[in-house]
């Protein structure tokens, strides 16, 4: 009885070990199963999903116009204080004073890509970009001003 159990254990053990080795052996002989993504080399073909949240950007059209009215909804929505909107008073052609953004300051180093600012924006002025290569040598470079120099508010956006 003891011997039967003893050799039964040995048989089962060796069998289980061989079954395990079969799995690794299979992958060793099937190199097409390799799943490595050679990241910096596949940059050309690497396509991020369009919903991927990499950083906040402010799209500008060809006339260097953006849609940000400076309402600060995103600034309030942001949990981390990532966004700081600096406004200025601008005198329009008809003489009225209007609040316009001077600088849309975005601290990428504080951002957690939670998307709440994009959701909060009433005029769809900011979107999430798919760029994810953010590493820089100096942390200060992560402070970005999203509106381009001399850009204007798009016509019809209030």
């Amino acid at each position: 009885m003891f011997l039967k159990e003893y050799f039964g254990t040995i048989y089962k053990s060796i069998k289980s070990l061989l079954v395990g080795m079969k799995v690794t052996g299979y992958y060793f002989t099937h190199l097409d199963e390799i799943k490595t993504e050679e990241y910096p080399d596949n940059r050309a073909t690497l396509k991020m999903f369009d919903r991927f949240r990499g950083e906040v950007v402010m799209p500008h059209d060809d006339n260097n116009e953006h849609r940000c009215t400076g309402c600060q909804a995103c600034e309030i929505a942001c949990p981390n204080g990532t966004i700081k909107i600096i406004t200025k008073q601008e005198i329009l052609e008809d003489g009225k004073k209007k609040k316009r953004i001077d600088a849309f300051v975005y601290h990428l180093d504080l951002c957690t890509m939670c998307n709440l600012c994009v959701v909060a924006c009433p005029s769809d002025a900011i979107v999430m970009a798919q760029n994810f290569e953010h590493s820089v040598y100096d942390k200060k470079q992560l402070k970005k001003i999203l509106n381009q120099p001399d850009s204007k508010l798009m016509q019809g956006v209030e």
Binding site: L17, M21, I34, E38
Partner: protein, 364 residues
């Protein structure tokens, strides 16, 4: 073709000797020069071997883990291990303040010596053997266990608790598995009737022992592979290192070149163990012969003996590597249970079986 088939260690040595004798007339100087050449070529061989084994291990591991493995440095990443060695060379070889400094620095040297000494009786090809010791098998099993001294020394002198635990584990482990290795070696000695590795290879002229000796020899082959994997501290028996438990075991405190020496000796040990297994069970450099079939044997002879030796050795190395990348690690008490309750009794009975087989002539 002729030269390729008939080269031997002695003819090569004579050739170099003659070449040097023309240049150097002083006989002592001549001998020293020859020794230096031999020594340097040995070291070069071992370093290249270790580089290759390191590269092979990475690639084998990578392919089993559905990865590509090293592929940046050199063609197909083959220079990766050279780059790593350079990195280790440039690293600061720290010695902890509280360590026993002399033993701490001596341990890696002992490890390397221990593993280098074992290659003396190994026949790399036909007539290509450093020293055919007449008690070769005994020598191999004696010297190969020198490594445990290095491990114990390293673990104890580090004055680190992980290291100490690792050293204690490997002490128990290597000491135990020594027995099974010895017994499975004895079963081949019984069959071939000689302790010399050269004789053992020649005794397999008409068939390797693993084929001639059928089941009992296969059992001792399996036991030998398992026990020697444990002897050289490789996973799943890497209790002394046990990264997940002891962060690095006996070499936790080692860095730089001192650490590289442990790595190096691990790879030399791996090679030596596989070479011994290939020699004893798979015929070493002996081509695949079947007793009686002269024509077939003759064709097999065309493949150089070194190719036979290395392909067998690397087959076994591959199997041991596959163990490492497939199995979880045993626990320290299970390790000893495996040896004392399974491998040792089985190999003891197996030796008797082999003896009966040898005396009755039941092998081919």
């Amino acid at each position: 073709m002729k030269i390729l088939l008939t080269y031997s260690f002695s003819s090569l040595a004579t050739y170099i000797h003659n070449l040097l004798a023309e240049l150097i007339t002083n006989s002592l100087l001549l001998q020293v020069t020859e020794m230096v050449i031999l020594g340097v070529s040995l070291i070069a061989f071992l370093v290249v071997l270790c580089f290759f084994l390191g590269y092979m291990e990475r690639k084998v591991a990578a392919f089993m883990e559905i990865r590509l493995g090293p592929n940046r440095v050199g063609p197909k990443g083959s220079m990766q291990i050279v780059a790593d060695t350079l990195k280790l060379l440039l690293k600061e070889g720290l010695t902890p303040d509280s360590a026993d400094k002399f033993l701490f620095n001596l341990a890696p040297v002992i490890m390397v010596i221990g593993s280098m000494m074992v290659i003396a009786p190994i026949a790399f090809a036909k007539d290509f053997q450093l020293y055919d010791i007449n008690i070769g098998v005994l020598y191999v099993s004696a010297v190969s266990s020198l490594g445990v001294i290095g491990i114990l020394m390293a673990g104890w002198s580090s004055n680190n608790k992980y290291s100490l635990l690792g050293a204690m584990r490997s002490g128990a482990q290597i000491v135990s598995y020594e027995l099974s290795v010895g017994l499975s070696l004895i079963s081949i000695v019984v069959l071939s009737g000689s302790l010399s590795l050269g004789d053992i290879v020649r005794s397999q002229e008409n068939g390797w022992w693993i084929i001639k000796g059928h089941i009992p020899v296969i059992i001792s082959f399996v036991i030998f592979i398992i026990a020697s994997t444990a002897e050289i501290n490789r996973a799943p028996f890497d209790m002394a290192e046990a990264e997940q438990e002891l962060t690095g075991g006996f070499h936790t405190e080692y860095a730089g070149m001192k650490f590289a020496m442990f790595l190096l000796s691990e790879y030399i040990n791996l090679f030596v163990v596989s070479a011994v297994a290939a020699t004893l069970f798979l015929g070493g450099w002996m081509p695949f012969h079947i007793g009686g079939l002269d024509g077939f044997n003759h064709i097999m002879d065309f493949i150089p003996s070194s190719v036979w030796f290395f392909s067998k050795t690397f087959l076994i190395i591959f199997i041991i590597m596959q163990f490492r990348w497939t199995f979880p690690r045993l626990r320290v008490d299970q390790l000893l249970t495996l040896e004392w309750k399974y491998l040792l009794p089985i190999s003891m009975v197996n030796v008797i079986l082999v003896t009966v087989m040898a005396i009755m002539g039941w092998h081919f």
